[in-house]
Symmetry: C2
Subunit: 214 residues, 2 copies
Amino acid sequence: MQTFSKRVSMTVVKRLPKYYQYLTDLQDQHIEKISSKELAAMMGLTASQIRQDLNSFGAYGQQGYGYKVKELKEAIRKILGLDLQYNCIIIGSGNLGHAIVNYERFKEEGIHFKAMFDVDPDQIGKKVGNVTVYHMDDLDAFVAHHKIDICILSVPQKVGQETTDRVVELGIKAILNFVPLDLTVPDDVVVESVNITDSLFTLTYLINEDDDDE
Amino acid sequence: MQTFSKRVSMTVVKRLPKYYQYLTDLQDQHIEKISSKELAAMMGLTASQIRQDLNSFGAYGQQGYGYKVKELKEAIRKILGLDLQYNCIIIGSGNLGHAIVNYERFKEEGIHFKAMFDVDPDQIGKKVGNVTVYHMDDLDAFVAHHKIDICILSVPQKVGQETTDRVVELGIKAILNFVPLDLTVPDDVVVESVNITDSLFTLTYLINEDDDDE
DNA sequence: TAGATTGTTAATCGATTAACAATC
DNA sequence: TAGATTGTTAATCGATTAACAATC
């Protein structure tokens, strides 16, 4: 029988990493069992919502008991694709690029940084941890000889789109974008953006939110 | 007459910085007029949605004409609270902290970095641009003598919550959080989180999304 | 005036919450 | 078995889309 799983909504998908984080924490605390009610209280969601979310992927709980932390965590890990390995390059070896390479958590989850690229002569040839910075001129050759799954983009805004175009041209299908810019990519390329400017402006809104009529 | 503006939903608020970005771009291109239809096409929204969003704050357009880019941009700028000035400290002077201090865009919008704090002896006393790194021991005194509106948090995960508690204790009411952790704060403190780990895991999900039944 | 496009109300769609039978 | 809690259906709520009168 063919399965016809309805495409899961982005709203649910965006909550998955949070579930994974909380379940990892629970496991670190050696808690073996959790109910949707307990998890809801921890995460600020409702029990119903959690059960709905999880059930869009399958039945991971046990009636009358709850969810086994380890089992559920592993299930979500797999749903997130974290059972796989990813080769990754970083374009833009500024402070942000450095910060990401040094992020221990990524390595733990099978994200392998293969190279950094920049145009600044002072940066070329340097090593950040065990990752070498190459010149952008060497990008094509490098990607041709390595299977690269993800490109992390932390270049100046004005070259954001052109760099994206180049990366897409080279066949990379996933971009983690730190440039405060909405990138245009073909349908078969996925982009996830971290927009620090947007976050800051949301914060300034919230700071003043209640001032008008309270 | 008293105004009873219904509280604007977070869904709409999260789109405001995007409107602001697009309107800024339009103004830079010297485009004076835009219709909801044109803006919708650019932003990947519907014209209806844009008109609904904007009208939750007031009537900024002209029937039969559209929106004056400059006027609308200024209106949103004000809604976002970017007509005000904000004093800001950064706790954690690692690469991420450095990246943020060097972010030109923030200064343009009235965000002033007053100091950085760290516990690493090698960092104390250094200057990043014109911002000095102080020891965390000096935090209380500094905040007591400066009106600090925003704290940017880029400390190691394991001290994320305790640092937050300390900052809250000192009376700071807004936190831009880069620690991959859901911070607990009192109701009168606003937190906006940038969670790079969550974004990466969303990306790995999307990479594998269509693999199961297609 | 005629054409265009807003502001706003009504209809639809999707997400959350509630309820409860299934079952561990 | 009785109690607990899931999986899942139904009800509600909120967000998006459609429609159109107001009006520039």
